[in-house]
């Protein structure tokens, strides 16, 4: 079983390494975001998306033929989806009026017997804009409320550190999604928010132990109080992330296409969330403490 000895495992003493790793991660993520950009799905970019399932083998070329007849083939992108339960094709196009969407559906249904419309989504351009605004506003207000609560329960520097840690996690997850070119949709936003929630949870659990150690071992230097807290909570950190990640992996593989993006984002975000509460949050607190004490002396 996991048992660690805080007198032998000096995680906080090596904080320079963690800062270099953390800084590199943030810079690389931002670079990836700049270079590859985000693949915005219809939730943000707007436009229609139609998904069909077929009883027979149908290629994207077959479907493109039908779209040519309807006259929307030029700006349509087609993608096959393979699931255990069905084989399907997703059509994305530029803006279509409701009657044009129906035309497309009818043409495909008429061409392939046993075809079925699985879903048809159409999002106007203003909706995506609104979603972006709502999500940003919500994140901002949530961030402020969090800072207030943590400052009240702990100290302001714990709150600021938590925010920095959360930014690290969010930037990393977004950077990976840019790198992979995965679609950014509402589910991804929900996943980011979940990651924020989980990362807060993780960071607070360790901060709580630091707070306790500050009372329990008054004479001990802060760096040792923090190191002891991180090392003593390691079994919990490992067990919690193992159980959560195992559950997420199960859902990623068995939960179907609809929530796969969500689960991938969660997997990346929760892994980095656990990492950052140990290797980003606590080292920042320690360095902050050492600097402010050095200043007080001089």
């Amino acid at each position: 079983m996991f048992n660690f000895d805080s007198s032998k495992l000096d995680l906080m003493g090596k904080r320079k390494i963690w800062f270099i790793v953390g800084g590199a991660v943030v810079i690389l993520s931002l670079l990836s975001l700049l270079v590859f950009g985000l693949n915005l799905g219809i939730d943000f970019a707007g436009g229609p998306i139609i998904e069909f399932s077929f009883a027979e083998e149908v290629t994207t070329e077959d479907v493109r033929g039908v779209l040519t007849e309807v006259g929307i083939a030029e700006d349509a992108t087609l993608q096959t989806t393979t699931e255990d339960e069905y084989q399907g094709i997703i059509i994305r196009t530029g803006e279509l009026a409701p009657d044009e969407i129906e035309q497309v559906e009818n043409a495909v249904l008429a061409e392939f017997s046993g075809a079925e419309v699985l879903r048809t989504d159409m999002v106007g351009p203003t909706i995506g804009e609104e979603l972006r605004r709502q999500a940003l506003l919500a994140l901002l207000v949530a961030g402020l409320a969090m800072v207030a609560y943590i400052s009240f329960r702990f100290e302001p520097k714990f709150a600021i550190t938590t925010l920095a840690t959360l930014s690290h996690d969010v930037i990393f997850t977004v950077g990976i999604f840019a790198l992979l070119g995965r679609e950014i949709n509402t589910a991804f936003v929900a996943a980011l928010l979940t990651i924020v929630g989980y990362s807060i949870n993780d960071t607070i659990v360790i901060f709580d132990r630091i707070r306790e150690n500050m009372k329990l071992y008054r004479k001990m230097p802060f760096i040792e109080q923090a190191n002891r807290a991180v090392v003593d909570t390691l079994p919990r950190s490992i067990n919690t992330s193992m159980t959560t990640l195992v559950a997420i992996l199960a859902i990623y593989f068995f939960g179907g296409a609809a929530i796969r993006t969500f689960m991938l984002a969660l997997f990346i975000g929760l892994a980095v969330g656990t990492y950052s509460s140990i290797f980003v949050a606590s080292p920042i607190l320690v360095s902050w403490d050492i600097r402010s004490k050095a200043k007080a002396k001089s």
Binding site: I127, A190, D232, R236, T243, V246, A258, L266
Partner: protein, 407 residues
């Protein structure tokens, strides 16, 4: 109270909670969202016109026209509500042809009769009834009836434009432009339909009247029943596999207390379903994601408690004392961690709509239920078994008495 009485009370409490949850679940059931059950979710926005601004009266007018159209289309259990100042949300479970329904619902459907120059002579407001039928040649037509004022005007129009072509328009679509052959008073026919179904669609629009202002389809999401069924089946399977793996891990690591934690997770699942049913919450795919996260936090709460108990045991306390102290110390950690997440989730629920909101609401419910199960159910379960040799054993809680950590 003596230990045995306390123990009986605790067992009764656990059984009571489970029974209540099962009762709520079987009595109310879980409402499934359109993404799981199949159906259409449509967001319409009213467009201001020169003649009419968007106010509450206009919105009420739109809602009532849409309600009548939906009823005429024979769609069951529709939900039609306004959102904000100028939006209408229409939810249609069990709709066979959603794209067609969206067009019928979102159409302004202003019927006008125009002269050869295109000037409007008469509008559809004067129509009292419209039905699809066949004319004497067996063609599909829409026959309409005019009210008294309309009849007088129509008589005048047909007299004035005798021998000329007048046009009948639905919005900007010309339905027919017959040559006036005789003076007509109170009824007319619109021809030119390929089949009676097309005629029926227009008859509904004309009969139920035009929308007071045009609406634009801002967003429409329709999910076929097949996809919904697959989504439910997959989520349940994935959830069960996930839960089983978590339970196995807990049992492997924490031994007998792990079994108690796994049981309290199952109880958490039952209580969560009961609460969702009791609150009549609508379960959507993002909602399931919220539940998954809260399961994660429920597991975490158990792990935090067990790790604390283990620490207390390692520092040499008896099992009863270690359980007491462990819970007391874990309590602060869990509350602080959960309250921070609760704040985030509540703000999300308040500021957002749709999918993100669905996620936030189930997360809030999930966190509350998970704190409830961690502090009351897990606690009671451990207390009930605290005298058993399976908890007393050295290995339970993953404790390792060889390593003295908190000296």
């Amino acid at each position: 109270m003596r230990y045995k009485q306390k123990r009986r009370l605790k067992i009764a409490f656990i059984v009571g909670v489970i029974a209540l949850a099962i009762f709520l679940y079987s009595f109310y059931g879980i409402n499934l969202g359109l993404d799981l059950e199949g159906g259409a979710h449509i967001v319409l926005q009213a467009q201001e016109t020169e003649g009419r601004t968007i106010d509450r009266e206009t919105m009420a007018g739109i809602v009532s026209v849409i309600e009548r159209r939906v009823n005429e289309l024979g769609l069951s259990e529709p939900v039609i509500q306004t959102e904000g100042s100028d939006r209408i949300i229409v939810e249609l479970p069990a709709v066979d042809n959603p794209s067609e329904a969206i067009q019928t619902i979102g159409r302004t459907a202003m019927l006008t009769i125009r002269n050869p120059e295109g000037e409007v002579l008469l509008t559809g407001d004067r129509i009292t009834d419209a039905r699809a039928s066949y004319d004497e040649h067996g063609r599909a037509v829409v026959s309409f009836q005019l009210d008294r004022e309309g009849s007088r005007e129509f008589e005048e129009i047909t007299r004035m434009y005798m021998g000329q072509r007048i046009g009948i328009y639905l919005d900007d679509e010309q339905l027919t432009n017959p040559t006036v052959q005789s003076v007509i008073r109170d009824q007319g026919q619109i021809t030119g339909y390929a089949n009676v179904r097309e005629a029926e669609e227009h008859a509904i629009l004309i009969r139920e009247g035009a929308l007071p202002v045009p609406v634009e389809v801002m967003e429409s999401r329709t999910v076929g029943p097949t996809l919904g069924a697959i989504a439910i089946q997959q989520s349940i399977r994935a959830g069960l596999i996930g839960l089983a793996l978590v339970a196995l891990y807990m049992i492997f690591y924490y031994k007998f207390p792990g079994i108690l934690a796994a049981s309290s997770l199952i109880i958490y699942g039952i209580v969560m379903m009961g609460t969702l049913a009791g609150l009549q919450a609508v379960l959507t795919l993002p909602g399931i994601a919220g539940i998954i996260l809260s399961i994660g936090m429920a597991v975490d709460a158990n792990i935090i408690i067990f790790e604390r108990i283990k620490d207390e045991r390692n520092s040499g306390k008896s099992i009863r004392a270690a359980i007491d102290a462990g819970f007391k110390r874990a309590y602060i950690t869990i509350v602080d961690a959960n309250v921070t997440t609760l704040i985030t989730a509540s703000i999300l629920a308040y500021f957002t709509t749709g999918a993100v909101r669905g996620f936030a609401v189930t997360l809030i419910i999930g966190i509350l239920v998970s704190m409830f199960t961690a502090f009351l159910i897990t606690r009671s379960l451990i207390d009930v078994f605290s005298q058993s040799s399976m908890i007393q054993t050295e290995q339970s809680f993953g404790a390792n008495r060889g390593v003295q950590q908190n000296v």
